[in-house]
Subunit: 333 residues, 2 copies
Amino acid sequence: MITLEHGAGGRKSQELIEKTIAPLFRYRDYNDLGLDGFEDGSSIKIGKEHVVFTSDSYVVKPIVFKGGDIGKLAACGTINDLAVMGARPIAMHMNLVIEEGFGELELGKILRSMAGVCRGERLHLLGGDTKVVEKGALDKIVIACFGIGLAGKLVRNSGLKPGDAVIVSGSIGEHEMAIFSEREKLGFSGSFKSDCAPLYGMIQKAMKAGGVHAMKDITRGGLAGALNELASKSVVSIQVEETEIPMRTPLKNACEVFGFDPLTLACEGRAVMGVNGGDAKLVLRALRRTREGRGARIIGKVVPGKGEVVLDTELRGRRLIQVPTGSPLPRIC
Amino acid sequence: MITLEHGAGGRKSQELIEKTIAPLFRYRDYNDLGLDGFEDGSSIKIGKEHVVFTSDSYVVKPIVFKGGDIGKLAACGTINDLAVMGARPIAMHMNLVIEEGFGELELGKILRSMAGVCRGERLHLLGGDTKVVEKGALDKIVIACFGIGLAGKLVRNSGLKPGDAVIVSGSIGEHEMAIFSEREKLGFSGSFKSDCAPLYGMIQKAMKAGGVHAMKDITRGGLAGALNELASKSVVSIQVEETEIPMRTPLKNACEVFGFDPLTLACEGRAVMGVNGGDAKLVLRALRRTREGRGARIIGKVVPGKGEVVLDTELRGRRLIQVPTGSPLPRIC
């Protein structure tokens, strides 16, 4: 039976892909980078360029939240998945599935918010599809986006090297906590605002400043999921200093109250990157000069190993950061 | 308010795109063929090749029907949208949105059926995304597919020329009638089987046999919608002989009983094409040699005009075929 965890981007999601989907579809002929890579997207080499593709469906609830809405989220998610592969996002397709009776004004608002992000990033809407289902067959709206980008050289999840510095671009967990506090109508909902933002500009500046060996945007599965994926694909281990992880105090406190592990909470405007050790300070400085990266920190380093992520804590010594089985909440993106 | 007609692929769908979506997103820089074309897909020219993209969401109900299921439908729809643009389908992304509690066996069956079509057409699954929503937030499953193809030369909807013959590749309306009769649990449901099929092979043979100037697969909006789109985009008129339109007698009868216009019913394995007049017989012969095209007929011709589609009937003289406002049924694909 399919459970919420199968869609939460953690270990269960991975199992669904590996056991149920991938074995049915695995052909490699055209692949420059395909399903086997389990990356943020795929690519096909045409001429000298890697044409990079990504696709995601957005089912976030509520559809409007502090710091964004499903339209902004969809555009940012699409852009970020391309950007972390080293690609310049150039175009997008958008599929809408809408529940009958959905307001045209509300739809317009969502689309304007999406279009605003696309305009800022010079991303072109090339096509799409609209389906409407009868009332009750869907909770409001699903947006599926297909992003197209171009890269001279792909940045792969498997690119981490021992000696690399690990940088996080800003404070973690804000998006998921904003969604949680709005959905549960908690009194402190005003304290959290989604970090939802397009990261192409920031990433481009980081890549110009130094050697970026691997990147991921931090979404479902949080920082814990992203670090584990990078470490295991690169066949290295990562050591993280807990005190260096950028995290706001209200978020820490809310996590204590509700029993969430902040390292598993989703962001929608943060990236983690492995950077050539000698370039780390240059890249950090470049990141901090951007709006999206002004809270960037070096949180740890890459060491030889077999895919482990080790956290050095102040009070509890060393512990392993595991791949989350799922996310604390469904429908966060 | 968004109504079912906004998602039915007729006039209302067109209005939603033209008035609500396109004005927000219209940028042309990267477009080889973009949203402005309202074609079956879009394209970007990279080097000497047109890289062609298409995207559709599938929400069909029931998800398994005589002649196919939502998985087969999604693969065929993706392949056909690329093929009618003159492209060779090469790869696909697939996004699943699944209701919590959906059966893993049922999911496996749908995916196998999809994979079977992809394997036959040498279409590679490159990536995708899976989201799971809580029980009651979705009626079972939505599949969004993004197709990627390559074309040396694009076949455009605007390519019809006066003197062209208009060919339909087989009997119309079977898919929608199959869905209707299953959904309504009608006694005659055994009489109708979806025509759902991948058309790339058939279309390739037609294009080798003669000059194909424009094509559409016949989906939402039926033959009436497809002919109107071709005529208006090409700024020509089309004359159709009613008696030449391939249609099975049980379908005609069922349409009479339920008050459907067969020309507005969706197929999922039929194409309509405008073919250079002198090549029409060669193309027809090539089509008829394929399994998907064995029922092909020349149904009319292209004449100078302003986008009208005129039907010559046996009993009621001449009448205009209008763009359907919507589809008789929601969730047929």
